[in-house]
């Protein structure tokens, strides 16, 4: 070829900078062909290469006595004892869900499930963390309903229960909703699998769905120009097939029982390119494949398209030489096509052939590890200091406290989320000991004696005003939720959702949030085992709230310690661990009542936080408390109401007297951290006092469980509502926001 096919325009349309292209030239020592350019652009994309976040993620704590696998593999792995390993990871599918909510969310679920079972784990639970614009806009309702339906449609069919999550609605997510999904699996510690190719000459096997033009990024258009018949090559939205995924799960787990496999990797983002390059570079080997052998759904697909297709439900497997037949037999049993498309080779090259003709040849490590790493410029947004200022004198206390409480309970962010989780099978596998609706879900482990507690949390409003503190609070609250359920926090995964890293203000938010998360994780001894970064969550310059989501895993040595947030028995005492400060900043109360997003988020002292959590955990383990509920969005009043309602059976009343002298609105609705509401038998009060004293945690007697009314009294205020009215306001909130 004489003239260069790779024009600057083409390079740019592939999202590569001139510097990055020079780097490619240097690596190859020649000009890439179109296929190679496409492979580089996909592998060096922000999504695959973490080029803007790497240097900052490196500051997170990732080591711990229980960490068997930290960041770098398909998912993180924890040693949870009894020879069991817990495998978990969170992923975002924000952009696809914005384009096509049902399929976008569905394929997001499918992708994260594959990350879990490729490590040899049986997926046992899903969590969905959702952020959308206000529901009064039909567009947002359409997106939200489509996403929930997609998660339900895929998760229920594939047979992995969705047992928890979050749903939060705010203006900034109008421009870009968030759909983050966490999957958790259980494996035998001695049967873990890793995506590392090995053994020169071993077969590389393609399994699962045929390849179509799904989700090939826009650059395809540019590429299409290079050969005839390009009108037919319009890329299409990925569509999920949960049934085929189910077949993949069962077939892979069955194969992993034997010793025929060397490595397993799913084909997610950047499809075949990413799977081959990562397996090879992790294993320090090369891989050679022939695209002619790749099963395909459509005619006339080019090497470029085959390497970049993101068709769903496909896996790449490296088997031991000579075991091809046994591997094929298992996949046949499950009606899956398995084709040997290549071999593991010596030296680190990814060689791609098409009918024996070389179409791409790139050092695998260059693709997987040698992407540029940027220290992007950062500076705090100008508005930030202003947004932290809050003049409380301009915030009139509510005339009617009862009305204020009902308004909060009705607001979509605080209302009952059952209309969401009722659509998800959350009971399958008979593990769900504490169901969705409480602070954290509790799942029995195999054997039934021990259990895990899980929660996902993250407050974008806090982070918008103070990303550092917001990041810390996300970790603290996730841990607190797990502790309230009786779990000892072990480790986290995360999904960090931000705007464009090319804007210094966004980059600053990201770095501050990561600092906060790291500091909290170090203090709480909950290392980070993996996660996901989603940048560019913005439309025409309108970025979302910076939104780090934390997925926390906790362990219960005895399932009998499983605790929920609901009051149990008439006559039980209600008490508060921790202390309420005059903190209304960045609260749900200000947002709902005054449309205000301002003021310092609540303060957080990590030592105090830990003391409260230790005290709560000890009280639970010693059988002192019957319920524990974390005070978060909506404050003390909302948390007390939540402990009365939403439990199985009829709601139960409570009679509370608050003696604190701070502003009543801050007292009732402020979101001071490190607070936990517990209920207990009167006779256990001295034991609780002793525990609180030992851990130096303020303990306040609040009142008594019982009756059919919610009564809250203070020096300057009083509210008294029939508990049924409180419950119906809370239950109806989301439904009426959805106009149904």
């Amino acid at each position: 070829m004489t003239v260069s096919l790779i024009t600057p325009d083409l390079v740019e349309s592939h999202g590569l900078t001139a510097e990055e292209y020079d780097r490619i030239l240097a690596i190859l020592g020649r000009e890439p062909n179109l296929t190679e350019l496409g492979v580089f652009s996909a592998m060096w994309s922000e999504h695959c290469s973490y080029k803007s976040s790497k240097v900052h993620l490196a500051t997170l704590p990732t080591k711990g006595s229980r960490v068997l696998q930290g960041p770098g593999e398909n998912a993180g792995v924890l040693d949870i004892g009894d020879g069991l390993a817990l495998v978990f990871k969170m992923e975002s599918h924000n952009h696809p869900s914005f384009i096509e909510p049902y399929q976008g969310a569905a394929t997001g679920v499918g992708g994260i499930i594959r990350d879990i079972f490729t490590m040899g784990a049986r997926p046992i639970a899903l969590f969905d963390s959702l952020r959308f614009g206000p529901l009064d806009d039909p567009k947002n309702r359409y997106l939200f309903c489509g996403v929930v339906a997609g998660i339900a449609g895929y998760g229920n069919a594939v047979g992995v229960p969705t047992v928890g999550g979050e749903a939060f609605f705010a203006e900034p997510y109008r421009s870009n909703p968030l759909v983050n999904v966490m999957c958790v699996g259980i494996a035998r510690k001695d049967r873990l699998f890793f995506a590392r190719a090995g053994g020169v000459g071993n077969p590389v096997i393609y399994v699962g769905a045929k390849t179509g033009r799904d989700g090939i990024h826009g650059a395809t258009m540019a590429s299409g120009a290079f050969d005839e018949g390009s009108e037919a090559r319009r890329p299409t939205v990925q569509v999920g097939d949960p049934f085929r995924e189910k077949l993949l799960i069962e077939a892979c787990l069955e194969l992993m029982e034997g010793d025929d496999l060397v490595a397993v990797q799913d084909m997610g983002a950047a499809g075949l390119s990413c799977a081959t390059a990562e397996m090879a570079s992790r294993g320090g080997t090369g891989i050679e494949i022939d695209l002619a052998l790749v099963p395909r759904r459509e005619q006339g697909m080019t090497p470029y398209e085959l390497m970049l297709s993101e068709s769903q439900e496909r896996m790449l497997v490296v088997a031991k030489r000579g075991r091809e037949q046994r591997v094929r037999k298992v996949f046949e049993k499950w009606d899956l096509d398995a084709e040997v498309i290549g071999r593991v080779t010596e030296g680190g090259l990814l060689r791609v052939l098409d009918h024996g003709r070389l179409v791409a040849e790139i050092p695998a490590a260059a693709l997987a590890d040698d992407a540029p790493a940027y220290h992007r410029p950062m500076s705090p947004p100008d508005e930030i200091s202003e947004s932290r200022r809050l003049d409380l004198s301009a915030v009139p206390p509510p005339g009617d406290y009862a009305a204020a409480l009902l308004e909060l309970l009705q607001s979509p962010n605080l209302a009952c989320k059952e209309p969401i989780w009722e659509r998800y099978d959350h009971m399958l596998f008979l593990n769900t000991v504490v169901r969705p609706g409480s602070d954290a879900v509790v799942l029995r482990l195999p054997g039934g004696r021990r259990a895990i507690a899980l929660s996902t949390d993250g407050n974008g409003r806090y982070c918008a005003i103070d990303p550092y503190r917001g990041g810390m609070i996300a970790v603290a609250e996730a841990a607190r939720n797990v502790v309230c359920a009786g779990g000892e926090p072990l480790a986290i995964t995360n999904c960090l959702n931000f705007g464009s890293p090319e804007r210094p203000a966004i980059m600053w938010q990201f770095v501050e949030a990561v600092k906060g998360i790291g500091e909290a994780c170090r203090a709480m001894h909950t290392p980070v085992t993996g996660g996901n970064v989603s940048f560019y969550n913005e439309t025409s310059g309108h970025a979302i709230f910076p939104t780090p989501i934390i997925g926390m895993i906790g362990l219960l040595e005895d399932v009998a310690h499983a605790t929920d947030q609901w009051f149990k028995t008439e006559g039980d005492l209600v008490a508060l661990l921790g202390e309420t400060k005059e903190e209304l900043g960045a609260s749900e109360y200000l947002a709902v009542r005054f449309g205000l997003v301002r003021g310092e988020p609540p303060s957080l002292d990590l030592a105090t936080e830990q003391a409260a959590q230790r005290a709560c955990l000890e009280a639970i383990r010693r059988g002192v408390v019957r319920s524990a509920h974390d005070c978060s969005e909506g404050g003390l009043a909302v948390a007390l109401a939540e402990s009365c309602i939403g439990r199985a059976g009829a709601p139960i009343g409570v009679d509370i007297e608050l003696r604190d002298t701070i502003r009543p609105d801050a007292l009732l609705f402020g979101e001071s951290q490190s607070r936990i509401i517990v209920s207990l038998q009167e006779s256990d009060w001295p034991r609780l006092q002793e525990i609180a004293a030992v851990h130096r945690v303020p303990l306040t007697h609040l009142g008594t469980v019982g009756g059919t009314r919610l009564k809250l009294r203070g020096a300057t205020f009083a509210l008294d509502l029939p508990i049924k009215e409180v419950e119906s306001a809370w239950r109806g909130g989301l439904a009426s926001a959805l106009g149904g």
Binding site: E100, T236, E298, Q312
Partner: protein
Amino acid sequence: MLTAKIYVTLKPGVLDAQGDTVKSALETLGFRGVGDVRIGKFLVIRLDGHAREQAAAQVEEMCRRLLANPVIEDYSFELEEAGR
């Protein structure tokens, strides 16, 4: 009175998992020469008090706004005198 018969189909190239499953089921049942199977929706909507051309415009809009998902689906329709 008019009846609109509306056909909503997956765009070419979009994976039709349901169609593929039905295809292999038909083959297992011993049917020969079964090629591609694509499965879409068939809607019948009765329209009261509409002139034909006005009705056509209405149905067109219904498809665009609600009945078909433009990202993955195509649609077409016919209008008939009801009763048939």
